[in-house]
């Protein structure tokens, strides 16, 4: 160790010959032009306002306050704003996904996204009560599309539900305890060939509670009302390759377990109905939802179980929108998904008349309910062909609402569907089976469920959740809440009453906080990192 090495450390050799000077000048000039061009584009081109790809509105320029400046959030938010609203954001993101594809190759045509590092064995994956904790917080209930509500370019007759921007990360309003906020039931996403499948990590114990809460509804409603329970398998059950099956718990086992815990509610075996048709397009490849065709087979099974008439597929007009790339691209940013769009399709009955009324909820920043619009009449099918990533919103325009469809079918049967977004594709096949259909999202409902169902003379109640939701704690909590909330007489009759605005937001916003902080840990974006680092 000699002291002089630092001082006499070699500096750049001073080259003074002409050729290198000319070369340097040429290089500097070229680079200056390029850098100026890119900088000019970054600064002066119109900023992006929303991301269709990520299905969210982008950051807004922060408002100044002394506190926010002093604690660094103001400047951090400006940095965030600048990179979030970069011109042509979605296009650049797509190019970035293409670049990232060069980091390696897919063996067996598989790429795993956010799959937990577990090299787990069958024993650990199905152990009772151990839902593997996943690092993805947005995904499993798959309501990003529907929750968004506001899309400026969507041609919809339903008024925008809210003006508030929706953050993709924080929009889960899980009514779950803090510790539960991150333990959703998925194990990550595998892109297999051109199909993205969300790996299932559900657990028995939650499924049992789900069965129990369905039974509670049956008990509350009494013998006059039929209660059905349809747990809908997702694509991972049928399309997961053997090599990654240890990350994908059996949905069949979980569904059977739930059904075995039902006493008076009637199970609907959607599973076998779907299993018989796996060669058909019953699930989307680029979206986490099932397709209308999958919903058709499940609805057929339900109609059979409920003893109602059922219209054959030939009684419908099929509508197709090409170029559909669903939620799986925004979740994984896997370029393979983007490059392999599919058709979105839905069915409109030829000979049934529909009278559809929407009771839309207004949502706050954290996706909590802050109010309710006046009831409004519209069509059941809405046009989303201009924002193709949101095509699944064709059914009713999303989740944050109660939908009432009065049909020209007259048989005295009145159905209420309690559902997550999977349930949105079901009603189209039940218009010829029921006189009235009420579609209720478990996350957006402010009345007392028992009172509401009785008041509307419901004869049949269908719980239609996908297997992820049926084994997620927050789902059970939602259903519990719907049974106990709003017992004051005032709240049950008048829409948009004070009960709507006072009781619910307080609760959900508290939960929201925990979800956000959990998300910070796992779903770090570049911007949150910067913010954390600079604090």
């Amino acid at each position: 160790m000699d002291k002089n090495s630092q001082k006499s450390a070699p500096r750049y050799a001073e080259k003074k010959d002409k050729s290198s000077k000319g070369a340097a000048a040429a290089y500097v000039a070229a680079i200056a032009v390029i850098f100026a061009a890119v900088s000019g584009a970054m600064v002066f081109m119109p900023r992006s306002r929303e991301s269709v790809l990520e299905q969210r509105e982008l950051a807004e320029f922060p408002t100044y306050s002394r506190e926010s400046f002093m604690d660094g959030t103001y400047t951090a938010e400006i940095s965030h704003y600048f990179s979030d609203t970069v011109p042509m954001r979605d296009r650049l993101m797509e190019m970035a996904s293409a670049v990232q594809e060069f980091t390696g190759f897919r063996s067996d045509d598989i790429k795993l996204h956010n799959v937990t590092v577990a090299e787990n064995t069958e024993e650990t994956s199905v152990t009772e009560g151990t839902a593997p904790v996943t690092e993805i917080t947005v995904i499993s209930n798959g309501s990003v599309v529907e929750d968004t509500g506001t899309v400026s370019n969507a041609e919809t007759e339903v008024p925008a539900e809210t003006e508030a921007p929706v953050s993709a990360v924080t929009q889960e309003t899980a009514a779950a305890p803090a510790d539960d906020a991150v333990s959703l039931t998925n194990n990550g996403i595998a892109v297999v060939g051109t199909r993205a499948i969300m790996l299932y990590g559900g657990s028995y114990s939650v499924g049992e509670d789900y069965a129990a809460v369905v039974e509670k509804y049956k008990k509350a409603l009494g013998d006059d009302v039929n209660v059905y329970c349809m747990v809908i398998p997702t694509s991972s059950e049928f399309y997961c390759p053997e090599s990654i099956s240890s990350y994908n718990n059996s949905q069949l086992d979980n569904i059977n377990n739930i059904y075995s815990h039902l006493a008076n509610a009637v199970p609907v075996d959607a599973y076998s109905a779907l299993k018989d048709h796996t060669a058909e397009n019953i699930y989307f490849r680029t979206d986490h939802h099932w397709s209308s065709l999958g919903a058709y087979y499940a609805a057929e099974k339900f109609a059979e179980t409920a003893g109602v008439p059922f219209l054959d597929l030939s009684e419908y007009d099929m509508h197709t929108v090409e170029g559909y790339v669903g939620t799986m691209y925004s979740y994984t940013q896997d370029i393979t998904i983007k490059n392999n769009p599919e058709d979105f399709f839905y069915y409109v009955p030829k000979n049934v008349e529909l009278d559809t009324t929407y009771y839309n909820y207004q949502l706050g920043d954290g996706n909590e309910i802050i109010g309710m619009d006046e009831p409004m009449k519209s069509t059941f099918y809405l046009n989303f062909s201009n924002s193709k990533s949101m095509l699944y919103c064709t059914f009713m325009g999303g989740d944050a609402k109660i939908t009432h469809v009065n049909t020209s079918t007259k048989n005295g049967r009145r159905l209420a569907i309690f559902k997550d977004s999977y349930g949105n594709a079901l009603p189209q096949f039940l218009f010829g089976s029921f006189e009235d259909i009420y579609v209720i999202d478990m996350r957006y409902f402010t009345y007392n469920a028992e009172d509401y169902l009785k008041e509307h003379g419901i004869t049949d109640v269908l719980f239609a959740n996908n297997a992820f939701h049926a084994t997620t704690r927050s789902t059970v909590n939602y259903y519990e809440k719907l049974l106990t909330q709003g017992r004051q007489p005032a709240a049950t009759s008048s829409p948009a009453s004070s009960a709507v605005t006072t009781s619910v937001p307080a609760e959900t916003s508290a939960v929201e906080k925990t979800v956000t902080s959990a998300a910070e840990v796992s779903e770090q974006t570049a911007e949150t990192d910067i913010r954390k680092n600079e604090e």
Partner: protein, 485 residues
């Protein structure tokens, strides 16, 4: 602000370039004027002013509150510099006071919580202060210490102009992540620097290289390391553990050296020449060599300001070595794993001194490389896990002592989808750049070669900038590791 950020790249930098060029013209006018009047001051006062303003904005952007701490520190150190040399004979008392001030400051703001926690653990109840650790405090405090020491030793004159001290300490390229620049390195550049087109060419290219290292390599590698190192250990395979820690080994090198490259490159463009901070550390044949090649500005700081003053190899050398390595570890973070990490290297270097270094020439090189890389990678394991419990668990998995499976589909998948990235990282860790530079230097002198070489260099720079921009936009991952320090 950090360098690998769109706002920095496309607003801060262009604005600085424009103002800096304008300041160049202003300086010429000022110089002409002062020459007339017979003053002989700095030839670039306006440039210095622009640089100070931009540096303070840069710092305040990320640390709007604690910028006052930095300013106080600079003011105090400026005064101590003057006090030390107030009389002809340098004042030891003021020197010691100045050092105490700096150590007390970093001790309070960076290590306050750590110290209090450990006192509490020992049963001495003290209130726990908030962990603040202002950005860059480790770097600017060390620069201040080196300034005072150099002034005290008479290696440099104390700077009488407070703005020049302010510029030295706060200059944004090296402010928050080094290298630790010594005052004497840039003392001359501060008052009279001339920027040639070669400086700008070299500096700009260096910046793009650094940006690419940071955004294309380090950020992408961090996706792998996070996936395997931050998860539940009970579910980690042996292969996954190694894949994760090897990815981190590359990640931290490209992260930190990329940042140093950007700093050196920008400094060069602005007319300053900083010393090199990295010299292909992963090609070392011993740990002793590794530390001559890794974060050179830090290890030479400890050598010149701790090791040698303590007596170097003349008296109680083992004590000197272990002190240096204890401090090196602690410098990296206020946590016990960093202490462990420092002592780990201290012990290895001490052992090497009496064993390996004496027989190095007789051992086949390949074994020396394997030996060094193994100890380096293992070192990063200690470095990574601040939770000692997790560290122990992870080491058990690495060596198959935990019964975790050897591998699995997730590890295999992460390996194949990142294979080219890992290969690129390995290739960029060896002195390929030196070879290319040699080739470029020769080709550029031939008649047809010059144009081709310039075009290739421009294409490479534009490519690095463009891909980095895309990845920053997609921005799934942009943690900067050395902020912790």
């Amino acid at each position: 602000m950090i360098f690998a950020d769109l706002l920095f790249l496309y607003i801060f930098l262009p604005a600085l370039i424009i103002f800096y060029i304008l300041a160049g013209f202003a300086d010429k006018a000022v110089c002409a004027l002062t020459k007339e009047k017979g003053f002989a001051g700095s030839i670039n006062p306006v440039k210095n002013a622009v640089l100070i303003i931009f540096s303070l904005v840069f710092y305040a952007w990320g640390e709007p509150f604690y910028i006052r701490l930095m300013l106080i520190s600079i003011a105090v150190n400026y005064v101590f510099g003057l006090l030390i040399t107030f009389r002809e004979k340098p004042s030891k008392a003021f020197f010691v006071l100045g050092i105490i001030f700096n150590i007390a400051m970093i001790g309070t703001f960076k290590y306050g919580r750590f110290i209090a926690e450990n006192l509490n653990a020992l049963g001495i109840p003290v209130p726990l202060p908030e962990a603040v650790s202002p950005v860059g405090i480790s770097f600017y405090t060390f620069q201040s210490i080196s300034y005072l020491a150099d002034v005290y030793r008479g290696d440099v004159k104390a700077q009488k102009n407070p703005f020049r001290v302010l510029l030295y300490i706060s200059m944004f390229p090296q402010l928050i992540a080094g290298p630790i620049v010594r005052y004497e390195t840039i003392a001359e550049d501060i008052c009279s620097r001339r920027i040639t087109v070669e400086d700008v060419s070299e500096g700009a290219f260096r910046f793009f290289i650094g940006l690419g290292k940071k955004v294309i390599l380090a950020n992408q590698l961090s996706i792998i390391s996070e996936q395997f190192l931050d998860g539940e250990l009970s579910r980690l395979s042996v292969g996954g553990a190694w894949l994760g820690i090897i990815a981190f080994t590359f990640q931290i090198y490209f992260d930190f050296s990329g940042y140093s490259d950007m700093a050196i490159g920008m400094g060069r463009c602005l007319g300053f020449r900083f010393n090199e901070n990295f010299n292909y550390p992963y090609i070392s044949r011993s740990i002793t060599e590794f530390w001559r090649r890794w974060h050179i500005s830090l290890s030479s700081f400890f050598r010149d300001y701790v090791y040698i003053p303590m007596g170097g190899n003349r008296r109680h050398q083992p004590l000197n070595i272990m002190t240096v390595w204890l401090l090196t570890g602690l410098w990296h973070g206020a946590s016990w794993n960093f202490v462990l990490w420092g002592l780990y290297f201290g012990i290895i270097i001490m052992i090497e001194k009496y064993t390996l270094l004496k027989v190095e020439n007789k051992i086949p090189k390949v074994f020396l490389h394997i030996y060094s890389l193994f100890l380096i990678v293992f070192g990063w394991t200690i470095f990574y896990f601040e939770d000692l419990g997790r560290l122990g668990g992870f080491i058990k998995i690495m060596f198959g002592a935990s019964g975790n499976p050897a591998g699995g589909i997730v590890t295999k998948n992460a390996f194949t989808v990142n294979l080219y990235l890992l290969i690129a990282a390995a290739v960029c860790s060896v002195p390929l750049g030196t070879l290319i530079r040699k080739f470029y230097g020769r080709a550029i002198k031939t008649s047809g070669g010059a144009a081709a070489m310039v075009i290739m260099k421009v294409a490479a720079s534009a490519g690095l900038l463009w891909i980095s921009t895309l990845l920053l936009v997609s921005g799934t991952n942009n943690p900067f590791l050395y902020f912790r320090f």
